[in-house]
């Protein structure tokens, strides 16, 4: 029995790939096909595709997108991925949806579980943002887009700090650090946590310089006192020193947050990477065991209109 795939509808196009919705045959399973444009790259199979394949092959987890298959078609490499019709950005932006505290907790829990699985396999994602947290039809959140991922580095390796979409970039990256660890991903999750509560991006810098200002206005400017050695990082210049926000101020900023929710967010967004919490510490914090319990994925808010659209598509396909 040979397995084949159809590409039925183009749903997106990026710099290195075109994404189609389709089906796996003969199982009729819905899948997404990411066709990597090979022709445009003179150095063979694109680096992002290599990374995506390399890391997804190792990461089988409920909260990480599944790489179903890889095939070659007319010299183009195609990644067959789990079909995930929604992402967290769309849900956050849909103002018709109301989030309960248990909903936010559930998304955070799923994100951190998936990320913990990456980190315990020594894999850094390096591009976490709501747009890369995809949602399955039954509400499960899955981390996707491993095009920037890499293995945890050796102490002597020099890394590029030009990773992570600007708004979710940890301060050590903003300062141009050439060595960093998995807690850059924890920072991004902390910022996503804030965004889930505020329903608007927390630190929307207009450019790299503005990102520093916005970040430190909100969370205080790090100094050698609060973060030993920070002034030795390449891009650390004499900055305006904003004070660290008081707890009362943060409580005011996040009106809906419980004390424990706030503790977790503070732990995930500590300036000094050495003091920032790990995924394990985050997952075992009190926030996840206190009332209310995390909402079951199937009961989470979904963008209704989009859902109806895809159902219609499905109906019309059947006809």
């Amino acid at each position: 029995m040979t397995i084949s795939y159809t590409k039925e509808k183009k749903v997106g196009e990026g710099t290195y790939a075109v994404v189609y919705l389709g089906k796996q045959l003969p199982s009729e399973r819905n899948i997404a096909v990411k066709e990597i444009k090979v022709g445009t790259f003179k150095d063979g199979v694109d680096m992002s595709a290599i990374r995506e394949v390399k890391y997804l092959q190792e990461l089988k987890h409920q909260n990480v997108i599944e790489l179903v298959d890889v095939f070659d078609e007319e010299g183009n490499i195609n990644l067959v991925l789990e079909f995930l019709p929604m992402d967290l950005e769309i849900i956050i932006k849909d103002t018709s949806l109301l989030f309960q505290p248990g909903d936010v907790k559930s998304w955070m829990l799923m994100t951190l579980r998936g990320l913990h699985h990456c980190h315990r396999n020594f894999i850094l994602h390096r591009d976490l943002k709501p747009n890369n947290l995809l949602i399955s039809p039954d509400g499960e959140l899955k981390i996707a887009d491993f095009g920037l991922a890499r293995s945890l580095s050796q102490p002597n390796e020099r890394l590029t700090s030009n990773v992570v979409t600007r708004w979710y970039r940890a301060p050590e990256l903003l300062f141009g650090a050439r060595h960093y660890t998995e807690v850059i991903d924890v920072w991004a999750v902390g910022i996503i946590f804030a965004e889930l509560m505020l329903r608007t991006p927390y630190l929307p810098g207009k450019d790299d310089a503005d990102q520093l200002t916005v970040t430190f206005q909100a969370l205080g400017t790090p100094t050698d006192k609060t973060w030993p050695g920070v002034s030795t990082l390449p891009l650390y210049k004499s900055l305006h020193v904003y004070p660290e926000p008081s707890r009362a101020e943060l409580l005011n900023r996040f009106g809906a947050a419980s004390e424990e929710a706030l503790n977790l967010m503070i732990a995930m967004t500590r300036m000094d990477p050495n003091k920032r919490c790990s995924t394990e510490e985050a997952l075992t914090c009190k926030y996840f065991t206190e009332y209310p319990p995390p909402t079951k994925p199937i009961n989470l808010p979904m963008k209704t209109q989009k859902k109806r659209e895809s159902e219609e598509d499905y109906e019309s396909n059947k006809r």
Partner: protein
């Protein structure tokens, strides 16, 4: 986890256990290196044989399809002039080019890890493909290019090809997808260098009364060489990276490793309250036997002579394109 567990649960229904800890061993068993590329000795032997047989069958078919009107072709048929490589010949030529890959990786100043990845890609390719169909020289170039790209040490194809005589970007890139496919798209390799360094750090803590630090540094350097040499044997298909690393130390200093293991195992049995997590009494003997076997197999590499390889290589060329032999025979006839 064990079978006694499940029977137990049948008798007395128990709530689902949530406390099961995922160990590092569990994580390793989920890696593609373990799932796709780890074998028993017998399985590995069978795989090499079946790959060679597939290659030979493919050659037979290609020879049978040659144009019978050419007199030299019937001569080839009658005298059986294009013979497939034996398993042993395949092993030798693969090892020869694996060593070449090492030299080339050094030329491009690739770090140890990427060099090991290139060798690993190359050896895996020829576990599932035969040299009767692919000349290892060309596959080696592409494996090195791909390994550099996959391990964050990208080299542009133009620059890469320029440094290697008689190659073009196309001649290298043409095998890329086939190699990816042969590797089952499993690109993440766990090499013994990290555990080797990990043991080095742990020795400094646990064994500081047994060995001086300068001696230990020397031991580490020599063990690194052992591990690098073991890349050309089959041990990476048969043992875990930490076993290979520990075996390298054991070979150089068995007393140190023996007392280290005794210390570690006695620590394990005191810190674990859970009876199930305590090491079984004969585990240390079993582990040491395993290390000895690993040492033995790590020496089973050939480093073949150039003359022998040249001969095998000629055979490979005729296997890949039997018409080459036809042309050579025609030329010889024309001369005489």
């Amino acid at each position: 986890m064990t079978s006694s567990d499940s029977t137990n649960q049948e008798e007395t229904p128990q709530p689902e256990k949530h406390s099961k800890q995922i160990t590092n061993d569990d994580l390793y068993r989920r890696s593609t290196q373990f799932r796709f590329w780890s074998f028993t000795e017998q399985r590995l032997k069978d795989l090499k044989r079946s790959t060679n047989e597939k290659g030979a069958a493919n050659l037979k078919e290609r020879i049978s399809q040659l144009d019978p009107s050419i007199p030299e072709v019937s001569e080839i048929w009658e005298k059986d002039l294009v013979k497939p490589l034996t398993v042993e010949e395949e092993v030798k030529i693969v090892e020869y080019y694996a060593r070449k890959a090492q030299g080339l990786a050094n030329y491009f100043k690739l770090p140890t890890q990427s060099r090991a990845t290139a060798i690993s890609f190359f050896r895996k390719f020829f576990l599932v493909n035969s040299c009767i169909q692919f000349h290892p020289q060309y596959i080696m170039y592409t494996c090195l290019f791909l390994a550099a790209k996959s391990d964050n040490h990208f080299i542009g194809i133009k620059e890469f090809s320029k440094a290697i005589p008689k190659t073009t970007p196309e001649s290298i890139l043409q095998y890329e997808f086939q190699i990816l496919q042969s590797l089952k798209f499993a690109l993440l390799c766990h090499h013994p260098y990290k555990p080797l360094y990990g043991f080095f750090l742990d020795f400094q803590v646990e064994m500081k009364n047994n060995i001086q630090s300068d001696k230990l540094a020397e031991l580490y350097d020599h063990a690194r060489d052992k591990v690098s040499e073991a890349l050309f044997s089959d041990v990476s298909f048969l043992f875990t990276p930490s076993q290979i690393a520990l075996a390298a130390y054991y070979e150089l200093n068995p007393e140190l490793v023996t007392s280290y293991l005794s210390k570690k195992f006695s620590q394990l049995s005191t810190i674990n309250e859970d009876e199930q997590l305590k090491p079984s009494p004969n585990i240390q003997t079993k582990l040491v036997d395993n290390l000895k076997h690993c040492i033995e197999l790590s020496h089973a590499s050939f480093d073949p002579e150039i003359e022998e390889v040249t001969q095998i290589s000629r055979k490979v060329h005729y296997c890949i394109d039997p018409m080459k032999l036809v042309k050579k025979m025609q030329k010889q006839k024309a001369v005489s």
